[in-house]
C-alpha cells in the first residue's frame, strides 16, 4: 500500500469516511513536526515558528493528497498576518 492510499486503508479499518481518515492522519503528521518545535521554541515570536513548522508539515500532507489545498492558503494567510504584525510593530516602533 502506498502512502497515498493510507487514508483509504484507515477508513476501511475503522469504518469511518475517507475525509475523516485524511484529517486524522494529517493531524498525526503535523503534530509529529509541531510538538517537538513547540517544546523547543520559547519567547514572543514562538507562534511564528509554529506557523512555519505547520506550513512545512502541511506541504508534506498536501503532497500526499491527504488535505485539500485551501488549508495551505489559510496557513499562508495566518503566516502573512503574523509576519506583517511583527514587521509593522518594528517599523512603526510599537
Amino acid at each position: 500500500m502506498s502512502l497515498e492510499d493510507w487514508p483509504a486503508g484507515l477508513a476501511t479499518y475503522f469504518g469511518i469516511n475517507e475525509t475523516t481518515a485524511q484529517l486524522l492522519l494529517s493531524l498525526v503528521v503535523i503534530c509529529t513536526f509541531l510538538f517537538p518545535v513547540m517544546l523547543l521554541s520559547r519567547g514572543r515570536n514562538a507562534p511564528l515558528i509554529w506557523l512555519i513548522t505547520i506550513f512545512f508539515a502541511e506541504c508534506v500532507v498536501l503532497g500526499l493528497g491527504w488535505l485539500p489545498f485551501w488549508i495551505m492558503i489559510a496557513t499562508v494567510a495566518l503566516m502573512a498576518v503574523a509576519i506583517a504584525f511583527l514587521g509593522s510593530k518594528t517599523v512603526t516602533g510599537g
Binding site: 497515498e4 506541504c59 498536501l62 503532497g63 500526499l64 493528497g65 491527504w66 485539500p68 489545498f69 485551501w70 495551505m72 492558503i73 489559510a74 499562508v76 494567510a77 503566516m79 502573512a80 498576518v81 509576519i83 506583517a84 504584525f85 514587521g87 509593522s88 510593530k89 517599523v91 512603526t92 510599537g94
Partner: protein
Amino acid sequence: MADEMRGFVFAIAFIIIFAALLSAVPADLMGLGETPDMVTPISPSLATDFAESEWYVEDNLTAFGQYVYTLGAFEWVYSYYAGTMQLGAKVLLLGFLWLGQLDSCEFISPDGENRGGVLSITEIESDAPNGTVRYSLFSIGSGNSLGGFVVYWNITLYADPADAWTASELYLLHGLGLTESATTNIGALIVSLLLLQLPDVPLLVNIILVVPIWASIIYVLWYIIKEMIPFV
C-alpha cells in the same frame, strides 16, 4: 495617527507577504490527490504527468451525444456521433457568454499522425493495439497544446473498441499536464480567491480567506486617499 500608520504598514506588508508566500507554494501540490489512476484503473505511465483530468464513458453522454465538463481554465464539450468524436473548448464572449463557438482540438497519435478534428473509433483501433492510446491535443485555431487524450478499454473483454463503447467501457480521459498548468495555476488561484471562485472550496471558507485581503486593500486605499486630501 500612529495607529493608522501602523495599520497602513500592516496592510501593505500583509498583502505583499501573502502574495509572495502563496506564489512560493509549489503549484504541483495542487494537482495531487486526484490523479487519474486513483479513479479508474489505468497504466500509470499514461497518466503520471497529468495535474488534473476528467474521464468519462458513453453513459455520461447526454441524449444528444455530448458531455460538458470543466478542466483547467476552460469548459470543454465532447461530442460523439456515429462512431466519431470531437472535442473542443468553449469560446466565451466577454468571459461568460457562450454562443456555441468551440476551439476544436486535433488529435495527434503517438506515432505523430494527425487525425484531425474528428477522431473515429476505427482510427482508435488502429492506434491502440494494446487497448490504450494517448493522443496529444492541439488547438486547430491557435496550435496551442490542450493536454492529452487517453482512450483505453479492457482488450480481453472487448477486442473491438466499438463494442467497449457500446458497453460503456471505453474510457476516455482528458488530462492537462503539470507543465501546462503549473505556471498559471497560482496566478489563477489568487484571482479566483479574490473573486470567491476558488475551485473545490466551500464558499464560506473562501469568504473567510478573502475578507482579510480585501479589508487590507480597502484600508490601504482609504489611507492613501486620506493622506492625499489635506483637510480630512
